[in-house]
Point group: C2
Chain length 381, copies 2
């Protein structure tokens, strides 16, 4: 297949691009390197030392497969995006090119606006270009489990659609799960769902929306093949996901900083599983005429406290409870359906089987860049 | 009250600004005159001859009250918007500054993108500025009945929120009515709802969202006071609303062009009622902490065929059925709750009591500018 990976230089985009190229697909990465730019602005950065995009592509072509890179801002330059689609005529486009950190989106006016403008304009430019230029393209989008919110009011979280009865008519129906985002970032993923719903209804656009859990880990089978292929590993309070923040603290002998009580239950997925799920989604497009297909891209549910306890037990880390900078339920139960991707062949990697391997990798690879203060850089909201 | 009216030079914005100024409020109109620019681009325009914004403001200050105008693009110049809010420190901001024509939003890629970018970026810039600068401001937004769609599946359309039972837990709850837009324009109003939901949840932003029916008519008590105050009257297939298109045809002895069977039932409201409802909404803000207040701003439900028949009976117009350019149900029933604004004092003007008066006004005021071809300029979708 010919696949365009928008945002293919990022934490999820890069290993996914390698996974797809390794599977024999022709991959065009489109990335304006905004994430590397934000590193500079935040005075933070990846614990792993990532190669330049030029060196990454050279190494990928040497060891993995057919990958190239275009530096384009799809939110700001819709004409270039259209030219690119018309040039490649892709079978699938994966949309990773959204600002992806909830804390970043909550820093202030500038970051709120950047997140909305970049994510919505970019994704809408893509939808609009596709229906004009190659309407049978499969659009694969990274959503988030955060679109659902974390209340248990609606029971086990289904894959995108909720069965309800309308009280006034006593009629049963199925609706897009009611949006309940917890940050501007999560909100943009809720808006995206409505874009897809309408482009699907009016033009038959084929969409798979993957509501991903919190990603952890750093290595995949492909990133291991050459040091220049190493993936980024964020540990700061803005872009670092919770388990990766904990891992960075554990290997540097700093107590793990748990927000609030740690009773927040969340769904998790390893980065290698994430890349594998993307491959499965791309290789199994929805039928023409099918409504947007929504899968929960998650491996297992854990509480934040439980993650901290695992690291304390297995690595001897200390734990420190800090004031929660976020507005969220202090404690919650969570149960998540994830049958869709499993029906396509996904076999989840569980934390018990992989966590220590990743901790050892980070301990070996990255100790020297760690700045303990960066882990607590989250804005309050 | 100090009120900013974004988009205050437009078809609904202008009479609303006059209504508020006439009621003693201090009104700052913010408008980049984009609607006048689109007239030029589409080679169409108002049947009434509207004065320049300069002359409008002069006449309004002479006859009506305290009105001024700032030429600012709130989607493109967020800094100017922030300065404006900080300068005025408004009690309320009314957001009319969204591209408001479904057919315009469906012309092509450029218009789709313009509608999403202008509407979402503009409304989000406003939300983001308000929570920083004056978080207790009441944001009054023009939504549309089109957010609900026109299926009868969910029974009588409530005001924004739907009572449901979750099948899996058998629990009763109330959700934002599931979005079912019929155009890119309508879709943007669905996205807006999620912006308001989140800004209300996280920052307590006070919002009234008015899901307006199809507006008809042209005159209000205030626009009558001076020829320079006359409101615009669009009759073309892109910006003209259905009943105003019919009126323009009736007074020019051209058969009324009904899309499809005319069995589409829609909610309607007269422009003078619209301005009155805005006044009521502004003067009755939600309580602090209240969820976004949603009212259906409609006077009565009619089928398109029924409107055509009324004009045929009362004015002797002919009727011609043409292929429907839109994707919509060919026929539908519709029942709409509108108790909210009535509880604040709104008394709907009914078509039976007002239609002929408006037809006569248009017949007198505007016959000479009419171009029969413009009425059929809708794009197909």
């Amino acid at each position: 297949m010919k696949i365009i990976v928008l945002g293919g230089d990022g934490f999820c985009g890069w290993p996914t691009s390698l996974k797809l190229a390794g599977a024999g697909h022709q991959v065009t990465i489109v990335d304006n390197l905004s994430r590397r730019g934000i590193d500079l602005a935040l005075s933070s950065g990846s614990l792993t030392e990532i190669a330049s995009v030029h060196d990454r592509i050279a190494a990928a072509r040497q060891h993995v497969g057919d990958v190239c890179h275009e530096n384009t801002d799809i939110a700001k330059d819709h004409a270039a995006l259209r030219d690119l689609i018309a040039g490649v005529m892709p079978d699938a486009v994966i949309q990773f090119a959204e600002q992806r950190a909830a804390p970043y989106s909550m820093i202030g006016d500038s970051e709120r606006r950047y997140t909305v403008d970049n994510n919505i304009t970019g994704t809408h430019n893509l939808c609009s270009a596709l229906v004009d230029i190659k309407p049978d393209t499969h659009l694969v989008h990274l959503g988030t489990m955060g679109v659902y919110g974390y209340s248990r009011e609606f029971g086990k979280i289904p894959e995108g659609y909720l069965d309800i009865e309308i009280k006034s008519t006593r009629q049963d129906t199925q609706i897009l799960y009611p949006a309940n985002p917890g940050s501007i970032y999560h909100m943009t993923k809720c808006l995206d769902q409505l874009l897809f719903q309408f482009y699907n209804k009016n033009w038959g656009l084929r969409v798979t929306d993957l509501h991903q859990g919190i990603v952890w880990g750093v290595e995949t089978d492909e990133t291991r093949l050459d040091p220049r292929l190493i993936n980024r590993f964020d540990y700061d309070g803005v872009f670092g996901t919770v388990l990766n923040r904990f891992i960075s603290q554990a290997v540097n002998d700093v107590p793990l900083t748990v927000y609030g009580t740690g009773g927040q239950s969340r769904a998790f997925i390893h980065i290698a599983d994430s890349a594998r799920c993307l491959q499965l989604a791309v290789e199994n497009p929805p039928e023409p005429g099918e409504r947007p297909r929504i899968f929960n891209q998650v491996s297992e549910v854990r509480s934040v406290r439980n993650l901290a306890d695992m690291l304390a037990d297995q690595w001897g880390a200390g734990i420190r409870y800090v004031t929660n900078p976020r507005k969220e339920l202090p404690e919650n139960e969570l149960e998540v359906e994830n049958a869709g991707l499993q029906s396509l062949g996904f076999k989840p990697t569980l934390l018990n089987n992989r966590l220590i391997e990743d901790v050892r990798f980070i301990a070996d690879a990255t100790r020297k860049n760690f700045n303990a203060d960066n882990v607590l850089s989250s804005p309050r909201w």
